[in-house]
Symmetry: C2
Subunit: 138 residues, 2 copies
């Protein structure tokens, strides 16, 4: 089942390298697929999902994802649920080329395939910000 995780990682490679063709190849084609970007409402349908990623890729000059706590389960043979923490390093919002901003999100993805010989494809992706607790001071 390592091919599930390889496809899951390929998603982040696509964002990092701005490879929209790779991104397209990773999604199931359906009006019922869904994607939730951190803090946003769900996008429904592969066309809308891919458009949103095209916009992200066009607007982010540098981004890198370090994934931790990756775990997955497979159901009914052809459906996988993958959860992970995305530790994000990005050049967005900083003004000099040698500075970075960071962020953390958690993500649950559902990948499906049409039988054991078919590739895994994303059906649903839900990412959300991890809000740091406000420290109380005396």
């Amino acid at each position: 089942m390592s091919d599930v995780l390889a496809r899951h990682r390929a998603f982040y490679d696509a964002v990092e390298t701005g490879d929209l063709e790779l991104m397209e190849s990773l999604w199931a084609q359906s009006p019922a697929t869904s994607c939730v970007h951190p803090g946003s409402e769900p996008l429904t349908g592969t066309d809308a999902v891919l458009r949103s990623w095209a916009v992200v890729m066009a607007n982010v000059e540098y981004i890198q994802f370090f994934l931790t706590d990756v775990s997955f389960s497979v159901h009914a043979g052809d459906v996988a649920v993958v959860t992970c923490t995305e530790n994000i390093l990005s050049g967005e919002g900083v003004e000099t080329s040698d500075s970075f901003t960071g962020g953390k999100a958690v993500c649950t993805s559902v990948l499906v395939r049409d039988g054991a010989e078919a590739p895994w494809r994303f059906w649903s992706r839900h990412a959300s910000p991890v809000l740091e607790p406000v420290e109380e001071t005396d």
Copy 2:
């Protein structure tokens, strides 16, 4: 497939009525189930997930969920993905009995079943806050 949505709705009924027994009956029993509360890191394993809901139920006196944009898909016969918007009315954080606070979250849930005769059970739940865009003023 309306039984998927009935089980999905029963989850919110359990929270609203503080019915931990109902909540327990709705989850698959596994160390690999997962639950993301809005703004939080994932909880893994049914024991941890149920403990978190027991704490929520113990601390929230009044809460009501109005679900909108509910949609679902079924994969490989026995895996369902449900997305919805949770419009939340709660008595938390207010001081008089006739005032309420509201909130909005979006949620992606994965339910599974062991064959067509078995009940649907939650395997994964990922809820996140919808962050309102900051309005720019001149």
